[in-house]
Symmetry: C2
């Protein structure tokens, strides 16, 4: 058997076109242009690439993109003054600060400064609490993207055994909350889990987010299971000397023979993250304007 | 084999005496008397009993107890004015509003009004978010009590398979977070779980909180497992006509033959709840005064 390959790139493109339609409708029917502000402190090259991708994607769906690049030695006071301004600006519906920030700044404090209703990365304590208690949260983009992919694979997630490997605040814990809210039986496994292979073999839905290349072997996968691979590691290319390639947490060659469906790396979960950032901005914009958030773009 | 019976009553008495020692120390060394305010709206007889128990327990450990009884027709405005006053009062370190409140009041909004640093019931979105993200939360009393009982049973919880049945905001979800933070592999099961018996049989630690009398049968328990029974149902007494008795979510007679350790109902988890309310008040009081919260009384 060979698993269905879940095409995250195509799925993300579809989410983006849905977002673009909603932007169009918000402009036409309500005179509102959703706006996303991205704050970058310092000149980390990888961060600059991410920020420029986000900017491009934001503009492509018809939203306003506000880029704020601050020098690496920006004080917390100045960063917070900018965040306060963005919090107060009604044309800004989403705010994200690109991490990592320079060492003299604190990520937790920075996130806490962003209005939770504009925290489109879903990283704040308030949004974590809303997610944990069934409130109207903005949900961290990568787990939200995985949820969308999973919902598209199943008529219903209810009663499925889901195993999430990894318990980070950014991914594993919110992923678990989302699957639980969709009525999965949810297990969170991690580095201290005793027989990880055995735990994984229970899963109808296996989500791997540990950041260890190809850790999940084919015989960890229950036949027919849906496998979502959130890991991205860059390793030396096996065939092209001097080149690198991206691989996931799952040994794809092995797992594809066992799973029912699987996300590849790259082209699986990755493209969903920016798509969900745009989706969250639409959700935040609608809520800020007392409009119902579009279905299918949030948890 | 017959399981060890976990004596929650004795354990809770010990927690309370630890709390009393800390109160003594805070008074002697810092001139601080921890204070707990309890707000009761209306005249629900069960609530009045709970509130009077809490009052008595608070006074017994040497804390100040502030009781506020409001008429059933109290407006939200007046309730919030009282909460605001208690939030601002430095002699009040913990605030709880006894639920249920009358229908015209909203529990979620009421909890949200309480300063999270004084939310000793650990019910607020902020405290749920802090718990979910590894911050300094005040943790809901019953799951905190269960965690204390479990820590006392094991040298370490790390790597244990824990299954929590029930996913309420009040218990199941925070219990899962606490066990995860203590490095258990955590499964949350619930009404949609497909083969609940099978899921339970995996558990080294089985925590039942569904509110269905004796639902967990003996053959759901892995031999030697530790069973924590959070359920309390009042049923007609089998031998005394016209009388009732309290039973848990676990069929005790069956499970006691299989488990390694088990909490009885009553006298297991129940007494821990008020003890943990007092523990949370000490924790809140220490944090409010810039002092380190005592070890062993919080997560």
């Amino acid at each position: 058997m060979t698993a269905k390959i879940i095409d995250g790139k195509a799925f993300a493109a579809d989410v983006r076109s849905q977002v673009a339609e909603h932007v169009e409708r918000l402009k036409a029917d309500h005179g509102i242009t959703p706006g996303l502000a991205v704050v970058l402190v310092g000149e980390d090259p990888a961060s600059e690439v991410y920020v420029s991708h986000k900017h491009k994607a934001t503009v492509e769906v018809g939203m306003q993109s506000f880029e704020h690049k601050l020098p690496a030695d920006t004080s917390e006071e100045d960063l917070f003054a900018l965040i306060d301004k963005l919090n107060a600006d009604p044309s800004v519906h989403g705010i994200l600060c690109q991490f990592p920030v320079p060492d003299h700044l604190d990520e937790r404090r920075t996130v806490a400064r962003i209005d939770p209703a504009k925290d489109v990365d879903g990283l704040s304590v308030t949004n974590a609490g809303l997610l944990a208690t069934g409130g109207e949260a903005l949900v961290s983009c990568t787990p939200l993207g995985c949820l969308m992919l999973l919902r598209a694979e199943f008529e219903s997630l209810s009663g499925k055994e889901a195993v999430v490997i990894g318990r980070s605040n950014l991914f594993g814990k919110p992923m678990g909350q989302l699957l639980l809210a969709d009525n999965c039986t949810v297990t969170i496994a991690h580095s201290r889990t005793k027989d990880l292979a055995e735990v994984c073999r229970r899963a109808d839905i296996l989500v791997a987010a540990v950041g260890r290349a190809e850790m999940v072997r084919g015989d960890w996968v229950k036949p027919g299971a849906t496998v979502i691979d959130v890991g991205i590691s860059r390793v030396p290319h096996p065939e092209k000397p001097g080149k690198t390639k991206l691989i996931g947490d799952v040994n794809f060659e092995e797992a594809v023979e066992v799973a029912g469906a699987i996300t590849p790396v790259p082209g699986g979960v990755g493209p969903m993250t920016i798509a969900c950032l745009l989706a969250n901005t639409i959700t935040a914009c609608c809520r800020a304007n007392g409009l119902e958030a579009p279905k299918g773009l949030t948890a």
